[in-house]
């Protein structure tokens, strides 16, 4: 499969295979007018398989979302067809409105207007917990 290279924009690389759509949704890329490509299960020397997102415009990115999905993600900024910057997000301390608390006993289950906020409690293992009930966030793969 061939997807053309971009002249000005962003390539989000090394997304864990299967999580590209989650990233696409959480970054609200469907609202963009420019070209966006989501490539699933591309072969990768480092990861075996990976997802890639290509965005044909330089847009502000929410690094917290990228870092939450995987801090090993690579963000490549392309200008005039050249790679001008390469970076990795870090695990955010808190993340709001991305993970939904699934605990039926959590106050967020009845108070609908409360934001769903998760905080990083174990950096080594990337564990996030709901700030209200401390329930551990499930990784998207587990959420099915």
């Amino acid at each position: 499969m061939i997807i053309g290279s971009i002249v000005n924009g962003i390539v989000i690389d090394h997304i864990p295979a299967g999580r590209g759509m989650e990233l696409y949704t959480n970054l609200e890329l469907k609202n963009l007018e420019c070209e966006v490509a989501l490539i699933k299960n591309a072969s990768s020397i480092k990861l075996g398989k990976k997802d890639i997102v290509k965005i044909g415009e330089r847009i502000p990115l929410d690094y917290d979302i990228l870092g939450y999905i995987d801090p090993r993600i690579t963000i490549n900024i392309i200008e005039d067809g050249k790679l001008i910057k390469k970076m990795h997000p870090s695990l955010p301390q808190t993340i709001t409105g991305v993970i939904k608390c699934r605990n039926p006993r959590c106050i967020t289950s009845t108070e609908q207007e409360l934001p769903h906020v998760f905080k990083l409690t174990d950096r080594e293992n990337g564990v996030y917990r709901c700030i209200y009930c401390e329930t551990k966030a499930k990784q998207s793969k587990e959420q099915g």
């Binding site: 605990n103 006993r105 106050i107 409690t121 174990d122 209200y132």
Partner: protein, 304 residues
């Protein structure tokens, strides 16, 4: 500490201050009988409670303050669908401090984010109940004279028991505290408590299924209920339930200085015959709850 939502909100030096203050209140009750004159506590209990609500109300009255509130959610506008934020903003107009119990986990935290007066979590579902832990710590201190260098046995339902989780969190910060976790395999402590509390604090702990074998070495035995509904099948429950009932016979193997604590209410996990033993500290623990709540109210209101 502006609010008390979970036990980890209290740094160890403030914990020690609260215990010191409680001991002073116990020794000199008259000195404190008017300290909260003109102050009012709102006890917002969205679900029933015997000990905790009465303890908060008695604590404020013994400080010379006043009490308003409700004892069940159906008596409040929550029954009409009012949010916690709106409820506490309203209560803030009438009270200087709030003690709140609510069935939903995280409710007290939400309350604390919406008011300028102190909020005390008096139990948010199965999540946190920090003033119970304060009562536990004051009891251990009064009965044994220290909070460090203790061997603490926690027995029963260690998986779902919030009081045990808070006790382990609080006590793991003291030097030389060793935990003996006594439970059926199905009801062992949750993984996060192991990795994010015990191992992070470098605490020593052992796990066993036998209360009988563990009891001789303990300084404190913290009992909790093993509930039938926690088991996957009836056969396991029947096989195991009696192992976790404290009887005078099992207690006979314990040290004379060992103390038995229980957050109460108990069902059958401590035989009533144990009540007469001087090592049974659980009713003294209830009384200590009032004293440390007095100290906490003073602290949060900034009253010396």
């Amino acid at each position: 500490m502006r609010h008390l939502i979970e036990i980890a909100d209290i740094p160890i030096h403030e914990m020690d201050e609260l215990i010191e203050k409680s001991l002073d209140i116990i020794a000199n009750p008259d000195r404190y009988s008017d300290k909260c004159h003109g102050k009012r506590i709102a006890t917002l209990f969205f679900e029933p409670s015997t000990r905790t609500r009465l303890s908060f109300e008695a604590a404020m009255q013994d400080l010379g303050g006043n009490v308003i509130g409700f004892a069940e959610g159906s008596n409040s506008s929550a029954a009409k669908g009012e949010s916690i934020a709106d409820t506490v903003r309203t209560v803030e107009c009438f009270a200087d401090i709030i003690a709140m119990r609510h069935p939903k986990e995280g409710s007290a935290y939400v309350a604390s984010q919406n008011v300028d007066i102190p909020v005390i979590n008096a139990g948010d579902g199965g999540h946190n109940h920090p003033t119970q832990t304060l009562a536990d710590l004051l009891t251990i201190h009064r009965e044994l004279g220290r909070l460090d260098n203790l061997k603490i046995g926690c027995c029963g339902d260690l998986k779902f028991g919030r009081t045990v989780h808070s006790l382990i969190t609080a006590m793991s910060r003291y030097d030389g505290v060793e935990f003996v976790l006594i439970s059926p395999e199905e009801l062992q402590i949750p993984e996060y408590l192991r990795s994010e509390v015990l191992e992070r604090n470098g605490s020593t702990y052992t796990e066993t299924t036998s209360l009988k074998h563990a009891i001789p070495d303990l300084d404190v035995l913290y009992m909790t209920r093993v509930q039938r509904e926690r088991f996957f099948n009836e056969a396991d429950y029947i096989r195991l339930k009696d192992s976790y009932i404290l009887t005078p016979e099992k207690l006979s193997a314990a040290k004379e200085t060992m103390r038995v604590l229980h957050p109460l209410p108990r069902v059958n996990e401590i035989s009533t015959a144990v009540d007469r033993d001087p090592r049974a500290a659980y009713f003294r623990q209830v009384k200590n709850g009032k004293f440390i709540r007095m100290a906490l109210i003073l602290k949060l209101l900034g009253v010396k």
